[in-house]
Point group: C2
């Protein structure tokens, strides 16, 4: 194109972990391809990491070394600051801000940073006439930010959903296939190195919640509001529920859902049931999936590796290529000043629920439960009662669409029946 | 962004069928949203179609009317010529060329035009400093052109696959679920209006082949070469094979595969078996799916509606939004002059094959067949022989990886055994 110049695009990479080294490898291996595709050489001029002496799987000898990422971000020979350090405070934030102030474009994989400071950084970038790109921050190698911001730009988005933490999906899938309890599989995952240093980032849904809040901002034109994401981790999911949900035709997923409703913006990252025949239900192991629903396009499903050296580096390089090609957009698709303050929905949209009760073997027990549900306004769609091997047996109920409030009222009414043992389990069924 | 101007982007739409009206509706319904997202008003100034008197589901009274699409394409008040007429000769081609010569950008849904004249049009566009965008030409609402050209720009592509003709997938799925023969379902599809005026475009694989040739050009940096696509339609697929393949754990799909091999560029649009548990295997009805495999990203799967008013119009509007935002790229991702002349692979890459034979009930029959296969260098991975209700019975064979040549040699050797009845069926199993 006429606008293409042969000036090299010079990257400064901060953070030389798996992803950083992955980026270095692509730039080295595919120099010619990148130049053909972007119309200019893409080169690395400087890198930065905490420990220079560490043995790394790439030749870094041709690059300047900065110990301080801020120094890297502001170097004269850096056009794009590639932030792959992670963490939403401290070095990553300081260096990103320094880069923008110094007139650099930024490419980052840092979902926490964007979830917490996305608005502020977007404003800063626009004031400086620079871009922040973050395809690698959400769902690894899947080009979902691009699909949502650009490909579906003609759509009013209705709902965005995703399984975006591979570790959680691995744990849930493994519990199911191996028939192992949560604690055992959690420990396995830890030993396999699948868990963050703070495992709650994974199993508590925080990491996936960060990603959801970013998608919601783009989809609905609102300021990123991670604090409004309703978070519930997978720690309370039992192997029993995985099995029983399976009996009723569902899988349990840590599912993110963002939708704009009449009651405001709903953002949830919680365990949900999804039909086992749906693409989300069929998602196994560490793979990620994002579902985008627009008023014209209907439902688009994107699937791919959500983490790892290659996929994440691929996403980073997609952003780098865009910058090299001169494709420039506001951070969240519209100018930061036009992003609306979201009103969080106080209650979530009605949905069917899955209920699991332990019912005592007493005459009229089921009738009593049904009556409590009826009084709470919850109607039963399907029910399955298991044989009484003991003095009590599980009952599974799939309700018609109802509210979480009504479910909670019903659960509150169960103890008085005298026929329900222990704590009932209620999990939302997300309709797909 | 600083580059954004408030000058309206003015569209001239040629072709007011389903998709054209879908585009009109989006522009009318989402004027404010489009302006917020692109930084400028997106408006329609003129339209064109064969029959002005036809009753259409949109108010066109505000737009100038041109009977001649070339006149529309060259109007002073048109910035982007939106070509939704279809057909690879005549009006669509003339008007597209006229638009480029007159300095207009082009957005088109016309896969046939690009498959036949992509290189020529890309050169013309670049000479004029204009862009041709065609997200709607491949896989309807799925933003696959964008994912491949931009999102995966850091990858050397390995293989691109897709189920990209919804009608064929509908027919195959319906044959399976209803247990109906091809001819019956074909007739149903015709009555439902799912088939093109020339049904061979659908069931002969031509339409899907057009799409594959476009994806291959982007993926491998080669000139579009539709003539090199190996085409085989679904007309010879029997309900028997659908059932038998199912018994062996496979589905039959009209699958496009493009890959660059040591022997050259392979482009096939043929019936293939895919594992029934794979995303491609699970694809039902008219939905499309594209699988992109890159050296860093691994496998990305994109799924969505491949046709219809909303999805196709969504893709058109994604392209329009890109142009409004100033995102400009060469037609196939690299300048047209850099696209290489592809060398078509003379033979397809080795793969396992599914074989169905009708074996006579004679002593040593199976041994004779196995011996012919062995002599051809084809080794058997799995076999299933059905009970002999008659004088002959079907035998299903899944081979280890082999070549189509070896399979053909084996099939050529079967008659001499005197134990194989009728024509054996051989279908490639695409490994996913």
């Amino acid at each position: 194109m006429s606008a293409v110049s042969a000036t090299p695009l010079r990257l400064g990479i901060a953070g030389l972990g798996t992803v950083g080294i992955g980026v270095v490898k692509i730039v080295q291996r595919h120099a010619e391809m990148l130049e053909a595709r972007t119309g200019r050489p893409v080169v690395i001029t400087a890198v930065s990491a905490r420990d220079r002496t560490k043995n790394r799987d790439a030749d870094l000898s041709g690059y300047a070394w900065e110990t301080d990422p801020v120094a890297l971000a502001t170097r004269d020979d850096v056009d794009v600051f590639v932030e792959l350090m992670g963490g939403h405070e401290g070095a990553a934030k300081n260096a990103t801000e320094a880069a923008l102030r110094a007139g650099k474009d930024v490419v980052t994989a840092n979902k926490a940073l964007l979830a917490h400071y996305g608005q502020e950084l977007a404003e800063m970038a626009e004031a400086a006439g620079r871009v922040i790109r973050y395809e690698a921050a959400v769902a690894g190698g899947i080009p979902v930010i691009k699909a949502l911001t650009e490909g579906l730009a003609g759509n009013q988005l209705r709902r965005v959903m995703g399984v975006m933490n591979g570790t959680c999906n691995y744990i849930l899938t493994r519990m199911e296939t191996a028939g192992l309890p949560y604690d055992t599989v959690f420990e396995e995952a830890r030993q396999l190195g699948y868990l963050e240093a703070d495992p709650n980032l994974d199993v508590g849904g925080i990491d996936a919640g960060h990603k959801l809040s970013i998608l919601a901002a783009i989809a609905f034109g609102t300021k990123v509001s991670f604090d409004d994401v309703v978070l519930e981790g997978i720690g309370r999911i039992s192997i029993d529920d995985i099995r029983r949900a399976g009996d009723m035709g569902y899988k349990i997923k840590l599912l993110g859902v963002a939708q704009m409703t009449g009651r405001g913006l709903e953002q949830r990252m919680t365990p949900c049931l999804v039909p086992d025949s749906s693409p989300l239900g069929q998602l196994q192991g560490g793979t990620n999936m994002v579902v985008l629903e627009g008023d014209s396009v209907g439902q688009i499903v994107l699937r791919g590796a959500g983490a790892g050296e290659g996929p994440t580096a691929s996403a980073v390089m997609g952003d780098v290529a865009d910058i090299a090609r001169g494709l420039r957009l506001p951070t969240f698709g519209v100018p930061a000043e036009k992003l609306a303050e979201p009103t969080p929905a106080a209650v979530s949209a009605p949905a069917p629920y899955y209920l699991r009760l332990q019912l005592m073997d007493k005459p009229g027990a089921l009738a009593k439960v049904a009556s409590v549900l009826g009084e709470a306004g919850v109607s039963i769609s399907r029910m399955r009662q298991y044989g009484h091997a003991d003095t009590s047996a599980p009952v599974l109920i799939v309700t018609h669409k109802t509210t979480r409030d009504a479910i909670d009222v019903a659960i509150g009414g169960f103890p008085a029946t005298g026929v329900v043992e222990g704590e009932p389990v209620a999990i939302r069924i997300e309709e797909i």
